[in-house]
């Protein structure tokens, strides 16, 4: 395949994207502004149907990268296309093509029963009623939402809420699902449910999934490809096997920890 075709078909195509923040330091009269690169330069291509996990220590630039991919944050440099669009310019259109879940907070409405939240999502994403009904029934069954559909979101357990969030993000049938720490804080059973659901979604519907995580269990269960981000750059991009091969004697956690340390040792 030629490079052009490849580009046209990629779900995420990031070339050298970076984001600088200006921080002011010191007390008022002597404030000095300093430019700090949160993300230096990231190259990332995600092809349709892939599941890619983004790893990296806290503060490595994962969240900023995810914010750029979803159009929340505009990049300082580089070129970026997600689902064929430039996120920062076409944020609203992009929102209809991708699904986004932030594990740390909910995309549902805190005070509304889950059912109302999902119904509202359908309207905001303009999903036709028949298509919605089909998809809603399917997701409700797969994620076993039935028992708590009429519970206000704030009363749901973390695991229930995450299942609700996933449903809301998938009702409009996006081809790309972006998940920021989807299993954070979940118990073993909830994690397993979420993982097998994501694997099935990818296998049966071909949904491309890009997720960030600190949980290597997510990676081992779900992903063939791992991207390690450290200090705002890509420190590793390749298969799980490639990651293991870097240090055949150790388990995967040690390898990843070693990658973080390497990064920290860099000037």
């Amino acid at each position: 395949m030629t490079t052009e075709e490849h580009t046209a078909r990629a779900m995420v195509e990031a070339v050298g994207i970076g984001r600088d923040f200006t921080v002011a330091e010191g007390r008022f009269p002597r404030r000095v502004k300093r430019v700090v690169p949160a993300v230096r330069s990231i190259d990332l291509t995600v092809r349709p149907g892939e599941i890619v996990a983004c790893l990296g220590p806290n503060g490595a630039g994962k969240s900023s990268t995810m914010k750029m991919l979803t159009g929340i944050l505009s990049p300082t440099r580089g070129s970026l296309r997600v689902a064929g669009l430039e996120p920062s310019r076409r944020r609203t259109t992009l929102a209809r093509r991708i699904g986004v879940v932030f594990g740390q907070r909910t995309g549902l409405w805190w005070d509304l029963p889950l059912r109302d939240s999902l119904e509202l999502t359908r309207h905001l994403y303009r999903v036709p009623a028949a298509e919605h009904a089909h998809r809603y029934a399917e997701l409700t069954e797969l994620l076993e939402l039935g028992p708590f559909l009429s519970t206000p979101v704030r009363q749901l357990s973390l695991g229930q809420r995450m299942r609700g969030d996933l449903t809301a993000a998938l009702l409009h049938n996006p081809r790309l699902l972006v998940l920021d720490e989807p299993t954070i804080g979940l118990d073993v059973v909830s994690k397993a449910t979420i993982r097998s659901f994501l694997a099935r979604l990818n296998r049966e519907e071909g949904t491309t999934i890009l997720l960030t995580t600190h949980d290597l269990g997510d990676v081992e269960r779900l992903c063939e490809r791992v991207v390690v981000i450290d200090r705002g750059s890509v420190a590793f991009d390749g298969g799980l096997d490639g990651l293991r091969a870097r240090d055949p004697g150790s388990d995967i956690e040690t390898v990843v920890a070693g990658l973080y340390r390497d990064g920290a040792a860099r000037p």
């Binding site: 923040f21 200006t22 900023s64 914010k67 979803t70 159009g71 929340i72 944050l73 505009s74 300082t76 689902a83 064929g84 920062s88 944020r91 609203t92 259109t93 929102a95 209809r96 093509r97 991708i98 986004v100 932030f102 740390q104 907070r105 909910t106 995309g107 409405w109 005070d111 509304l112 109302d116 119904e119 509202l120 309207h123 905001l124 994403y125 303009r126 036709p128 298509e131 409009h172 049938n173 996006p174 081809r175």
Partner: protein, 280 residues
Amino acid sequence: MADPIAPRRVPHLVPRPVQDYARLAWTWTRTAFQYPAGLALMTTGVVLSVVAEFGAVLVVFWRAGELAGFSMAEGMVVYGLAAAAFGTADLLMGNVERLGERIRSGELDTMLVRPVSPLVQMATDDFSPRRLGKILPALGILAAGLWWAAPEWTAGKALVFAVLMVSGVVICASVWLVGACLQFFVADAREAANSVTYGGQALTEYPLAVYGQGIVRAVTFTVPLAFVSWQPVLYVLDRPDPTGLPDALRFAGPAVAVLAAAVAALAWRTGLRHYRSTGS
């Protein structure tokens, strides 16, 4: 299933943001009615707050007889206009003042990944009919004041008056939004902005002639709250401007409203752009 990457074309006559606004507001209203006791209590609270506020206005006019040349009936028209306009702006837009909280909690990010204007989402969040507890009594006071003051009505005058009232609501909402947008730049700006928004409301509840020329000019030409209650009252009562500004100003309300809305839209866009380049 249709190719989801192709944008869906849903035929519609009403602009999308308006549809989304109505949908969100309706959902919140339904939720509010699911806790009728809480809603009743909060609405009562709002009604009594109007009673308290208006009671103070009545006491002042009762003691003064005439305040800066305005009778109690005319004072009621001023109060009714101001309270109705601010109440309506609060109903439609009031929640934007919680912008700072939304930024700190990350909720704004959640709003940005939905295909709906974040302004619409923020304005409708916690939309509640309890705020009618301010608007309806205010309209009642306005009607009573107009009946008592008994200006001469023509169909044209009623129409112009209605337009001036709507302009007042737009101006209030715009001032409110500009105040909220400061929170994009300064995290703790909420209370400072409140001194303009709520202070402005308090100011417009009395005939502006009370405050002297300097302040009247400030709220005519900088923060244009004079067009919320003062200029409409001069128009409907057909009075010359006692502060010496040209009488033609009373017809400027709609133009000022358009200008204020444009400034507010610009403030919102600038603020959002700033947020999206700093993430804070």
